[in-house]
């Protein structure tokens, strides 16, 4: 069973690959729920559920599990904010954003991570789960902003703004849960590490982003236009990547993998 559950991972990767291939080949599904992405999402959910039961803790520890949960949440975001016919044009870039972390995870060690005592709390799953849900929605924001900027698609613009707002909300909830967990586990809800600083940085970035649409456009630099808002939404994905992967892999932090 320990090894067999990984088959579900490979099947979901195959489904995500099929969706990305079809999308890049110009073949879009008739509806969100009759797509390879939906099949992959179901298989992926099953994989994560089985792995959770086997490991005894939420499968969100270590680089492999983090990447695969990130991929899962990115796929989930397609169904949360990109279901409208107008916004479904973002599935082409989004299917690639789903595939990439899952493909990267495929290259890593997939053995179950042990149940470290600090992970044995519901705050671990809620903190990481909400944070990754936010990350997934930020990925949808990039895909939708890309579509909005390249074609002036109104539905994609509205969906991108929704993705940023929902992502910010999920990430905020993740930060609250993380603060509670840190208070009980390490003695303080705030620790001065690069990861914490980047987490607050990401939160402030998207908090400001959700305000941009209320600034009236004006002449001169930077103009405060929709293009600026969408550009910032797209750039937010890379701020998120720096927080999630950059800090963990490049800087010394207590959150490192």
């Amino acid at each position: 069973m320990h090894g067999a559950h990984v088959v579900l991972f490979w099947l979901s990767l195959f489904a995500y690959g099929a969706e990305a291939g079809l999308q890049l080949g110009g073949i879009a599904p008739r509806s969100p729920f009759r797509s390879a992405l939906f099949g992959g999402l179901l298989l992926h959910a099953l994989f994560l559920g089985v792995r959770w039961a086997l490991a005894g803790h939420a499968p969100m520890a270590g680089l492999f599990e983090s990447l695969t949960v990130f991929s899962f949440c990115t796929a989930l975001s397609a169904f949360l904010v990109c279901r409208d016919p107008g916004a479904m044009s973002a599935w082409k870039p989004l299917s690639v954003l789903v595939l990439l972390p899952q493909a990267a995870a495929a290259l890593l060690d997939k053995r179950l991570t042990p149940l470290y005592p600090a992970l044995d709390t519901p705050w671990f799953a809620t903190h990481v789960g909400f944070s990754f849900l936010g990350y997934g929605l930020f990925a949808a924001g990039l895909a939708l902003a890309w579509v909005s900027m390249s074609g002036g698609n109104e539905a994609a613009y509205r969906a991108a703004a929704r993705a940023a707002l929902y992502g910010f909300s999920a990430f905020s909830a993740g930060m609250v849960c993380g603060g509670i967990w840190a208070y009980y586990a390490w003695g303080s809800y705030w620790i001065w590490t690069p990861k914490e600083i980047w987490s607050v940085l990401l939160w402030v970035y998207f908090a400001a982003l959700t305000h941009l649409k209320f600034i009236p456009p004006e002449k001169g630099w930077p103009g405060w236009t929709r293009t600026l808002e969408m550009g910032a939404t797209a750039a937010g994905y890379f701020v998120m990547l720096a927080t999630f992967l950059g800090v963990s892999l490049l800087l010394r932090s207590s959150h490192s993998f």
């Binding site: 042990p114 929902y166 609250v176 586990a185 590490t193 690069p194 402030v204 800087l251």
Partner: protein, 246 residues
Amino acid sequence: MTGLWRLLTSLKTCAWTSLAFALAGAAGSIVMGRYPEIFSDMDAQIFAGWLAGKGLGSPGPSLWLYVLLLATGLLAVNAVCCTVERLVQIFRGKATLRRLLPHVMHIAFLGVVCAHLASSVWGDRVAGVAVPEGAFAPVGATGLVLRLDRLDFSMAPEGYPKDFAAAVTLFRDTAPVARGIVRANEPLFHEGYGVYLKNFGPTPWGSPYAVFDANRDPGAAWVLVFAALFTAANALYLMPARRIDA
């Protein structure tokens, strides 16, 4: 005066200040690693104490932190001014109560900042209270004395701790005032202090020892209250009917 008020209530002030915050934070995350002699013990004491010592003593490497603090203060003032302006509009009947939710989030943000400030100034950190099993150790200058009654731990074959629990008693003036088990995610709270198990192992003479931290965060409960308020207002704000024109 009108110009200053316009500046403080402006969304553009919010955007530019947030950008400054982000750039300062990004720079700080790199600088911290370059100067471990300055930044590595930031969490071993309260922030105000660290800032008064090493923070102000090393203005160059700490410049990012000054910008971060300044930006945080300006964002808090910006949020307050924006909310005051909206409250005045509501009072004059120019805006509906439905548009108040983002301002509840502003107030919650301000509450978190103020509560964190309180912890940073009036909190306390007692790091590295090492005590062998059956022995006593003073908990910093708190007047409390900690006794490690018993330490139980089991290690996995791979070398990581599978479980650990320390039975401890806190004394004040030789009288026991609190007793409990400290383990992962379960500190012992007494007189505003949380006692956390940080490390453990065998002493050279064989008996086990444990290392504890004792932290006091007077603002922590308020941080939680305002964070919960923010989350609740945020969840309500996500309902589309409430978001229109907010």
